[in-house]
Amino acid sequence: MDGKNIKYRIGKSYVAQIVTTIFAFACVIPLLFILGFIIKAGITKINWHFLVSIPKPVGESGGGIVNALVGSILIIFCASLIAIPIGILAGIYLSENGKTRLAYWCRLCVDILQGVPSIVIGIIAYFWLVKPLGGFSALSGSVALAIMMLPIVIRSTEETLKLLPSSLQEAAFALGMPFHRVMFKVVVPVGISGILSGVMLAIARITGETAPLLFTAFGNPYLSFNITKPMQSLPHLIYDYATSPYDDWKNLAWGASVILLLWVLLLNIFTKLITRKWKVQL
């Protein structure tokens, strides 16, 4: 530093700032490319027919993705049904008994669970549900996705509830309310925005997951409402048709990509709005 011209140092500082800015904004370019390309390629494929009919076999043009749409909604709904109650209760447990040894191990396990590759969860769901039940089923896919949702729901519940002032709880206890009513009538309603944004984030994350569904929900070219049978889902349909050699199927995949992208983006925007409206820190 010493002995060097001050102008050189200031110049270097400016150059560094410009280079940093360029590199930082360079990240956005591929994102814009991807979004632009997907929307350009897929938006023309979407029409009413596309949303309400099932895929056509090879060689016939047209067809739609209603089986994947219904499947995705059903699978995610079941996953939420499993993960949200468990996640919120475990989150309450962690925020209420934060310092016990069990809570320490529990938190560690949640951290581990968050980092587990999705394909491993798929293997687990295969051995826990698909094999004992004797066949691929949407339900096993839901369980796999629920396992992936849990860490996000638990973490956001815990963090939100920890931020609430303890005077709130103490006031409720002083009125003679039992513990469970304090939780459900006071603490959870006050922190609902944080919990809700965690749930939305979790749903947004699992919506795009394909890997756990490969050996659980398995895919199905027909419309199905039976959660004990194989079922198609949007990301799975995209994977199947994107890697197929047929242009008709690829077109279906482009359209499905746009729908999936919009779905995930809307969920993320909703989460943003919730966090902004209630000023939650995640």
Partner: protein, 327 residues
């Protein structure tokens, strides 16, 4: 003032005595009240117990995952032993299982992706943490980077297949390697984009935690902005940034779909970074449902076990570093 009187304990005898006239109705009412409060206490205990059970479920879940993986991969551990990990040939038809091509493919693609992504994620972290923490432009950048993490991996894979692979094929034509397009290099590029947000957002919050007296002292000594960043901010946040990179690495190792779609899926050892290959995650995704022999299946699960253990260790180290940093 006499404080002792103010702080004195109220005893039972101080309370006004209530005269209870015990008619049958009042007794019944009192009994009902008592029963209700007992019921509430019972529900409370049950609720507290449910909470503890939920906490336990998390531990059981993780232990169960570990145990299931170990038990299911036992046949392959028993019959193939440790040399499984270093075996160079993967040929299920002739019952030869060696995981080295996949380990190499995973390591190559992940570390290459990490190398590509580090300058960008570091730049985002510095830009948002130090240069422009507030304003509409950094807000835009922050949201855009979060969006990168939100886009489903199968869409990255599809885009990579349709757009990136032809570009890479052109590039390979120019430098004179076999122009396949799909391969480790393509999947590294996709992975690099996908893992930017993890290191960037963590790095940003770490950089924002640098105490301002430290920076102000450096400015007071006449340092320029870049000098402050290089000699104060970066050394101070070194471990935090490293943790961010570790978490990105964990993501890259476990990423399945995007990689599966662009890596080319061959079980041969990749000769260079442009050659097609396979990662641990992608080989599981491709071959799990077609594994017809027990040893084949359990060899695949052993790959899953290795993947699980590696990502768990990486994530735990990263979390430990972050915890130590934030305290």
């Amino acid at each position: 003032m006499d404080t002792s009187a103010k702080n004195s304990v109220i005893t039972r005898s101080d309370l006004p005595l209530r005269v209870i006239n015990s008619t049958p109705e009042t007794i019944a009412r009192a009994q009902k009240k008592v029963r209700r409060s007992f019921r509430q206490i019972r529900t409370e205990t049950v609720f507290r117990r449910t909470l503890t059970i939920m906490g336990l479920i998390m531990i059981i879940l993780v232990l169960g995952i570990l145990l299931t993986l170990i038990i299911q991969s036992l046949p392959s551990i028993k019959s193939l032993g440790l040399k499984y990990l270093w075996g160079k040939v993967w040929d299920p038809v002739q019952d030869i299982y060696g995981a080295w091509p996949f380990l190499l493919g995973t390591l190559l693609s992940s570390f290459l992706a990490l190398l590509i992504s580090i300058p960008f994620s570091l730049a985002v972290a510095i830009f948002l943490g130090e240069y422009f923490p507030k304003g509409w432009m950094p807000d835009f950048l922050k949201n855009a980077v979060e969006l990168i993490a939100a886009v489903p991996s199968v869409i990255y894979g599809f885009w990579g297949l349709a757009v990136l692979v032809p570009i890479v094929r052109n590039l390979e034509n120019h430098i004179g390697v076999e122009p396949v397009g799909v391969g480790i290099f393509s999947s590294s590029l996709i992975l690099a984009i996908m893992i930017i947000p993890y290191a960037a957002s963590l790095g940003r919050s770490m950089i924002q935690m640098v105490p301002s007296p430290l920076k102000e002292a450096a400015y007071g000594l006449g340092a320029t902005r870049w000098e402050v960043i290089r000699s104060v901010v970066l050394p101070y946040t070194k471990s935090g940034l490293f943790a961010g990179v570790l978490l990105s690495l964990g993501r890259a190792l476990g990423e399945t779909m995007a990689v599966t779609m662009v890596i080319g899926n061959t079980s041969l050892i990749p000769k260079n970074i442009f050659a097609p290959g396979n990662t641990m995650a992608s080989v599981i995704a491709n071959e799990f449902t077609e594994a017809d022999k027990p040893v084949y299946l359990s060899a695949l699960i052993e790959l899953g076990l290795v993947l699980f253990l590696v990502t768990v260790v990486i994530n735990l180290i990263g979390k430990k570093i972050i915890d130590r940093f934030t305290q």
